[in-house]
Structure formats: C-alpha cells, structure tokens
Symmetry: D2
Subunit: 131 residues, 4 copies
C-alpha cells in the first residue's frame, strides 16, 4: 500500500463549498505515481517509453471533502491479470473515508498500439501492494 | 439527449501525446450543465440553492483521443429512481465513440444534508432525455 | 480577432461561489487554439512537430465571473517581434469585460531547443489579428 | 518564506512531453495555502468568511519542467500595501529555478464586495515572510 498526501487547493473546491467531483480522479492519478514507477523506473512519460494505459475508472463518493484539511490517498493493487491490473484507492480526511476508486490499467506497447503480458518481475513488485 | 462540443485544450493532453484520463470526467461534468439546469433553472451553484450531489462515477476508455479535433459529448438519462438518477454519456471524435461514462446523482438538500424524492415535474423533464 | 465560447463548468468555480483565478489561464490557452493552428496547421502537439513555447503570462482580474452564464474569450495579436509574439485576450460575461490577459510566445525548435525567426507567411497571417 | 512540495501528475504534462503552462498558476495557488491561513485561520473558503481576492497574476517560464521529479515552490511576500499585498513565488526542480510568479491579492469583504485595510496583526505576520 502507498500513502500520498494531497494539499487541497481552492481550485479543487466548487461553489457548493466542498471539493468538486472531478478532483478525485486527479488526486487518485497523482497517487498512482509510485505504482507507475514500478513499470517505468525512469518515469519517462513518452510514447516511445511508457507502458501503461487506462481502460476503466470508477469513483464512489461517500462523504463531502473540504478545503483546509489535508487528504490522504491510500493506494492498493486489488487484482493482477494477464495484461491488465486493477488499482483500488481510498481518500481519507480527518479520519473519515470520504471516497473510494478503482481503475483498470493495461500493460501496453504504445509504438505498436497493443497490450502485452505483464512481466514476472513487475508482477512480483505489484503483488507486494496487493489488498 | 443533449449534445455538447468540447474544444480540446493542450492542458487536456499528456506526455503520451493523447488526452489524459482525467479530462473525461471534467468534459462529462461540463456536458451535464443542461441537465443541471432542469433541476436548477437559475443555475445558482450555492449550498442554499443547489440540489444535486454525485455519488458514483465510472468511465470506460475505448480509444485514444487527440488534440486538434473537436470532441462531441452526448448526454442521456439512463435511469430515474426515487431520489437518484443515472446519466449515461459518450465522447465522440472524428466519428468514433472514444469513451463512455455513467454517473449517479442524488436530489439533495444541502442545508439539511439529506436526499429528497425527485419532484414529478422534474421527472417529466428528465424522461424526455431517457436513453 | 478570434472569438471563443466557454461553457463554465462547476470545476471552474470555487468555495467563494465565483470562478477560481486558475480557470482564466486555462480558458485563455483553449482560446489560443486558432492562433496555434496558424503555426501548426495539422495541430500535432508533439516535440518533433510543434513550434511554439510560452515564456510569459499575465492576467488582470477585473470583476468576478459566475457559473451559469457563457463566457466569451476575445483573442488578439498585440505585438509581433523577431522570434516572439504577444497575444492579448479578454474574457467577457453578460456584456461585461471580466478579465484580460497577455502571453508572450516564442517560435521554437523543440528538437534543438532553440528559438527561431517567425517566417514571413506566418507573420502575414498573424498580422490579420493585430489589435 | 514557505516551501511546498508538488508531486507532478500526468495531468500536469502535455503532448510536448513537458509540464503545461497552465499548471504553474495552479501549483502557485496551492502553495499560497499557508499565506491564506494567516488571513483565515479556520480556512473556511466561503463568501461569509473568506477575505482575500486576486487582482493580478503573472508567470515567467524560465525553463521546461518534467514529470518524474518533485517540484518545490518557494513563496515570499514581496510587498505589503494598504489593502493589497504582493506574493512572489519560484518553482524549482532538480536544483534549477524553472519559473517565477507574482500575484497581487486584496484584503476583501465579500459580503459588501469592497476592499479593506489589512489589519496590523496580519501585517506583522506577513512581514515575517518578506523577500
């Protein structure tokens, strides 16, 4: 499991005085950086180097999140398939679980535009973060 | 069904040369404005006036989206429950369906922080946009 | 002069009930698309093709902008230098000029990471949009 | 001076493989949180409580910023006027100053929509962060 801290920005809020629904997918994406580093140790976000693509995202909004208090994102691997894997994430604020999310990512060859089997050494590293 | 045009911004792309996964939830949120207007004719996005809150979001990424071509979002109501309703959306670019999304929204009293039954006149208006 | 319409999204607002200061640079960037097309007719936003880089941005916030009303961005070229040019922009809502902005952009070779003289045919096209 | 760490998100980059110009105003806004706390100890971002509004923003882009390396924002107060004050900020990555920015903020009564003189106790706290 990885833990990341989010410093809530005024931009993350909306006219209702709470954090806007669109901020959660961005926070979860930011918090997946350590997972991306397992696949891309040099973190080169370029088509000739990067190897992950997203195919599915879901978020459940459990409670409202507010400006002024740090948010903690907890990131777990929940499933490792042949060429895809699933990431489960939680957003916590003031000791309360405020939102959960899940994304399905595919190990992908951008140059040839096709999915690939996740290599064994990466599987091993991923499995250390299994829920 | 509502149709909205999205003018893709450089900010919507990422280092992989395609549109980043986090742009879709924002485009879909923007394209729900006409639906929000059914519930809030004066569009006052304030806690003492607004009456919708999101509880669930999902996006399926079918194909990559690129900068330089307009995106069209098609927005449908897919289900009307007691206090909640579901919106189904599609993102099209160059005649290809690139992504689909679904959100569950709840008719909500922000002052008292509780859900309410969707009134009949709103149900009638929503039903005109049923999938 | 180019005119663009912005459909204000709930994400663009903040807890103060108005549009957040960070939305203006994004709206102005989106509205510069037609200018970018003069330099990049195929709109390929890639290091081996694109030819503009930003060196300066400023925004003056004249009046608050709200959700629920369309925003119009007016985009002018205000100065054409040797390798750089300046873009002046205005954001209007309900007939009121709400914000102005200026950016300095440089004609740039990303492969060799150096600025270049703006070609004459592009100068001619730019000059049609001079303030 | 305040120091903040930014975890660069894929969303912050664009098709050119670097960080998009629109990310800097957002990072600088996030990094002003400790300054905002001087004015608003309870950090209630609501019209009946908050007391700062932005009137001017500028950013100078000195060098390209990349994904994969942490960014540090350094935040200073550069001028304290009667009702306004100026914040100067720098973005550093890998020991290089990549961008600088300046914003002018006004001490503001949102209920009555008018500027106010900055109180002496706040002036004293601000002056501890003078450049």
């Amino acid at each position: 499991m990885f833990k990341s801290k989010i410093d809530v920005c005024s931009r993350d809020t909306d006219g209702l005085g709470h954090v806007n629904n669109t901020s959660l997918p961005i926070w979860f994406e930011t918090a997946r950086n350590p997972l991306y580093k397992i696949f891309n140790p040099d973190m080169k976000l370029r088509p000739d180097s990067w190897n992950i693509i997203m195919v599915h995202l879901s978020v459940d909004y459990l409670d409202q999140i507010y400006y002024g208090y740090e948010v903690e994102i907890r990131t777990y691997v929940s499933k490792i398939g042949n060429s895809s894997f699933t990431v489960y994430q939680e957003a916590w604020q003031n000791g309360v679980k405020k939102a959960t999310g899940e994304v399905v990512l595919v190990y992908f060859d951008f140059e040839n535009q096709k999915s690939m089997r996740i290599p064994d050494d990466i599987r091993k590293d991923l499995s250390e973060h299994l829920l």
